[in-house]
């Protein structure tokens, strides 16, 4: 994780094409400029960054489920609950499940746990925009490659285009 660069996912562990779920893992860095302000003397990962982490896992799930047809953008967050503090060096297990694949949008349920303990959960809605309308296709594919998403898709029996 590089909090200040919004790189919230370290590795995609698996994608289940049948059940449309994704599991990922991240380790909170020991040090980050974010901790200088949040909070001095008591470093905690801000809740908004945990939501961003769930959004990114959801986004990669939507990309995998739709064969990279469109770019997901976070649109709304419902029922978000931050259940416990997340400190430096914490190992985060992130899960996202596709609840609905709509036309131009997708809905996921995502959650994070650490050491078997619930950290946070929410329902997320993402607007999806075709890559011919947003110039992010190449960047997103490169990032997906770095995170092992294509590897996970291949392991699940999917095909990489």
């Amino acid at each position: 994780m590089l909090l200040e660069y919004f790189q919230m996912i370290d590795r995609v562990e698996s994608v289940d094409a049948e059940r449309k779920t994704l599991r990922a893992r991240s380790v909170v860095p020991s040090k980050s400029p974010v901790f200088e302000g949040h909070f001095p003397g008591m470093p905690l990962v801000p809740g908004v960054l945990l939501i961003e982490t769930m959004a990114q896992a959801s986004g990669f799930l939507v990309l995998a489920a739709t064969d990279f047809a469109a770019m997901p953008f976070l649109m709304s967050v419902d029922g978000a609950k931050m259940r416990t503090f997340v400190e430096p060096d914490a190992v985060l297990d992130i899960e996202a499940a596709l609840e609905h694949d709509g036309s131009g949008f997708a809905v996921t349920k995502a959650k994070i746990s650490s050491g078997g303990k619930k950290v946070c959960d929410a329902q997320l809605k993402l607007r999806t925009m075709p890559f011919d309308q947003v110039p992010l296709g190449e960047i997103v594919r490169r990032r997906a490659e770095e995170l092992g998403l294509f590897e996970a898709i291949a392991a699940a029996g999917g095909e990489r285009n």
């Binding site: 649109m75 709304s76 609905h100 709509g102 131009g104």
Partner: protein, 92 residues
């Protein structure tokens, strides 16, 4: 007044916090009810779930943007409900 309209009106009232009594079959979701695109996606999600369909919103938006279809065709509630019934029939 169809059962589809009643259900859709309930969804709109709940999602957009609009007084249920003001929602009529002739209401235009954008011009009359003032529903914005974010709320409309919430409504479409609820309709998709309620009726087990997938409203082809991207296609409709494209049709309107290209001037092929007037917004009333999709966004006046009586017409929207008619499209929903067609999608349900096609799925059955």
């Amino acid at each position: 007044m169809t059962a589809t309209f009643d259900k859709v009106a309930d969804i709109i009232a709940e999602t957009s916090e609009i007084d249920r009594e003001t929602i009529k079959p002739e209401s235009h979701t954008i011009d009359d009810l003032g529903i914005d695109s974010l709320d409309f996606l919430d409504i479409v999600f609820a309709i998709d779930k309620e009726f087990g369909i997938k409203i082809p919103l991207e296609q409709w938006t494209q049709d309107v943007n290209e001037g092929k279809v007037a917004t009333e065709e999709y966004f006046v509630l009586a017409n929207l409900c008619s499209k929903i019934d067609q999608l349900r029939a096609a799925k059955a």
